[in-house]
């Protein structure tokens, strides 16, 4: 009940004309990012952070959150209309969405995707309201020891699930942590890894790194292949509603997608693409006509799109309540929160209650805005796809430069972004996952601080992590996750080895 009272206060703030405007702008920009190929939600959200620099924290985060889930929906439009997914989570939507479009039923595909996304997103936000306060109260029992062990669980999950190689994911996590140590040591104030370079005293900021890794790195990968890809497609859309016989099947798919997306959103390290792919395969398994999947069945669109949006909203639960970002985009949101002087975690609900409930309320409003905004404008979004990539790329680069510079009015940050762009390209080329590095770059200072505070309390005794029950539980969990990930990776390595030996 207490949570709903807070939520009502949040609605009052989120429905103010200014916040409503920023939520709408965020939804529009997010959809634009989702629609434009080559710009994923992580890069897009990072690129648009500079727009929010001068806004007050609540409006800034409302807008960034709207960009985040707007991008999730935007990817659907291109998947259905021209078989080009705007982001990874929409890849699976192409299978049946595009087939429906070819049968002249693009409107029904987009309509059910919008309805499913709205339902999944709203239910996940409702879940956030329900679990936020109990989880926060539990998390308030955490000292630095428990927090360190919890962060370790989050990191092991991210590393365990990222990429094909556990070793590469571990290396990326370590590199992110090492990058995060650059600057002044948080406990004793000594400069580390600065090599006498004055701007490094402030540390390596995450915005130039994210823009470099995801923005410039992606552009270099595309430039290596070709820049001539011109998107085409008329995007003719008629009725937005499914046929009467399709409603029943769609509703059950939407319910399953919501449950799955919500559950996966709670687990750090998963991503929306996992949610949509798993949802699609579950639908296929439970279907009475699995052979028809891929020929334009409506549940092939409804379930993954619902799961993807339920995931996007549920992923905010670990961020807001425990301070753990589960994916790169959520980590970017976390970075934006920290930039605004707000540290995500249990204290957020007690120290900045007005802010956090306004943002949660804005999630409901944003889902409604997306529903109203996107369906009538689908044709317009489709027209944007005609912009040649070689023109779009120049604008993205200009935006990257503005974003990196305006963070601190520093050309050093622009240089850092260019350097990280090159690194991002190399890492992608060599199949090193970027997500663990981004996460540890943001979590590094928090991890180090909690580790050192714990050891300071115990006067250097490491057993403190094993003698406190909650910490011990988290450590065992982290160990199990690592062993499971290594176990899963091991047979594959052996197989590869034996295969190679045969050749």
């Amino acid at each position: 009940m207490e949570a709903f009272q807070h939520l009502m206060t949040g609605f009052a703030a989120a429905l103010s004309p200014m916040n409503l405007m920023f939520a709408t702008i965020g939804c529009v920009l997010g959809t634009l990012i989702g629609v434009l190929p080559g710009l994923g939600p992580a890069a897009g959200t990072a690129l648009l952070i500079p727009i929010t620099f001068k806004l007050e924290p609540t409006s800034a985060i409302i807008m960034l959150a709207a960009i985040y889930y707007g991008a999730m929906y935007g990817g659907t439009i291109t998947s259905v209309l021209i078989n080009v997914p705007g982001e990874a989570a929409s890849v699976v939507t192409c299978l049946d969405g595009y087939e429906m479009a070819k049968q002249g039923r693009a409107g029904a595909a987009l309509g059910i995707a919008a309805i499913g996304s709205f339902f999944g997103g709203t239910v996940a936000t409702f879940g956030l309201v329900l679990v936020a306060l109990p989880l926060t109260r539990f998390a308030l029992k955490f000292g630095p020891t428990e927090y360190f062990s919890l962060l370790l669980v989050g990191l092991t999950l991210v590393m365990g699930l990222a990429g094909k190689s556990l070793a590469k994911a571990l290396v990326m996590g370590i590199l992110g942590l090492i990058f995060s140590f650059v600057g002044v040591d948080p406990v004793e104030g000594a400069p580390r890894f600065t090599f006498g370079v004055a701007p490094l005293m402030d540390g390596i900021r995450f915005v130039p790194v994210v823009m470099g890794f995801f923005g410039i790195g992606e552009i270099l990968i595309n430039a290596e292949r070709s820049l001539t890809g011109v998107m085409a497609g008329e995007g003719k859309v008629s009725s937005f509603f499914p046929r009467r016989d399709e409603w029943r099947i769609s509703i059950t798919s939407i319910l399953r997608g919501t449950g799955l997306g919500f559950f996966l959103g709670l687990i750090p390290g998963t991503n929306s693409a996992v949610a949509s792919f798993m949802s699609y395969s579950i639908e296929r398994k439970v279907s009475s006509h699995p052979d028809k999947f891929g020929t334009g069945v409506i549940e092939g669109v409804a379930a993954p799109e619902t799961a993807n949006n339920a995931y996007a909203n549920a992923a905010l639960i670990p961020l807001f309540t425990l301070g753990i970002p589960g994916s790169p985009t959520i980590a970017i949101l976390m970075g934006a929160l920290i930039m605004n002087g707000l540290t995500p975690g249990p204290l957020l609900f007690s120290q900045h209650a007005a802010f956090v409930w306004a943002v949660i309320a804005s999630l409901y409003i944003g889902n409604i805005i997306l529903l109203i905004l996107n369906l009538p404008l689908v044709g317009w979004w489709a027209k944007l796809l005609k912009i040649p990539y070689n023109i779009l790329m120049v604008f993205i680069l200009v935006f990257c430069i503005i974003g990196a510079y305006s963070l601190n009015n520093s050309l050093f940050d622009v240089g850092m972004m260019i350097f990280c762009g090159l690194l991002g390209y190399l890492f992608k080329k060599l199949d090193f996952p970027l997500a663990p590095a981004i996460l540890t770059l943001i979590l590094g200072p928090l991890m180090e601080q909690s580790l050192r505070e714990s050891l300071s309390v115990s006067q250097g005794d490491f057993t403190i992590f094993f003698t406190r029950p909650i910490s011990l539980f988290f450590l065992i969990l982290a160990g199990v996750i690592m062993v499971t990930s290594a176990w899963q990776a091991w047979p594959a390595a052996i197989r590869e080895e034996s295969k190679g030996a045969e050749v």
Binding site: V171, A190, E224, L227, V394, L397, I402, L430, E496
Partner: protein, 153 residues
């Protein structure tokens, strides 16, 4: 691919050693504050070195793998990437003197002509929009961009 992997893990091994060396310049263990500034980074450097060594041994034991298709970029691809990196690096050094608008104007004209192969009129329209237009737009958002020697653009 094996040679590439040797180089990659070798570089990471060397980086791990470098991190350890740098960490040793800092206090490993503080007196009042528990671990010192060099503690965490020392062990991360160690972990990086161990992981890299294990990988190098595994590559050595594994039969040689061929490079995946398209791993080495085409000559055209390399030219395109160098154009982008060159334009970015040049703009980084020129921005302080020429200001954001003029630098970005040159940046856009170069890339739109070199990579986009757009006609001159469209190149100029887009370059003005991306440079002066962006300066104006972000000025409205109170985001200050470098002004350069002319002092107003």
């Amino acid at each position: 691919m094996s040679r590439v992997n040797y180089i990659v893990w070798g570089v990471l091994l060397a980086f791990g050693a470098f991190v350890i060396r740098e960490s040793l310049n800092h206090k490993y263990y503080g007196s009042d504050f528990g671990p010192g500034p060099g503690f965490f980074s020392f062990w991360l450097g160690m972990l990086l070195m161990v992981l890299s060594l294990v990988q190098i041994v595994m590559i050595y034991r594994r039969p040689a793998e061929p490079l995946p298709d398209g791993f080495i970029p085409s000559r055209e691809g390399i030219k395109r990437m160098l154009s982008i990196m060159g334009a970015l690096t040049a703009s980084l050094f020129l921005m302080e003197y020429l200001g954001f608008s003029l630098t970005m104007m040159g940046f856009c004209i170069f890339l739109l002509r070199r990579l986009g192969r757009q006609p001159w009129w469209l190149t100029l329209v887009l370059a003005v929009a991306a440079s002066f237009g962006a300066t104006y737009l972000f000025g409205l958002l109170q985001v200050m961009l470098p002004k350069g020697f002319l002092g107003f653009i």
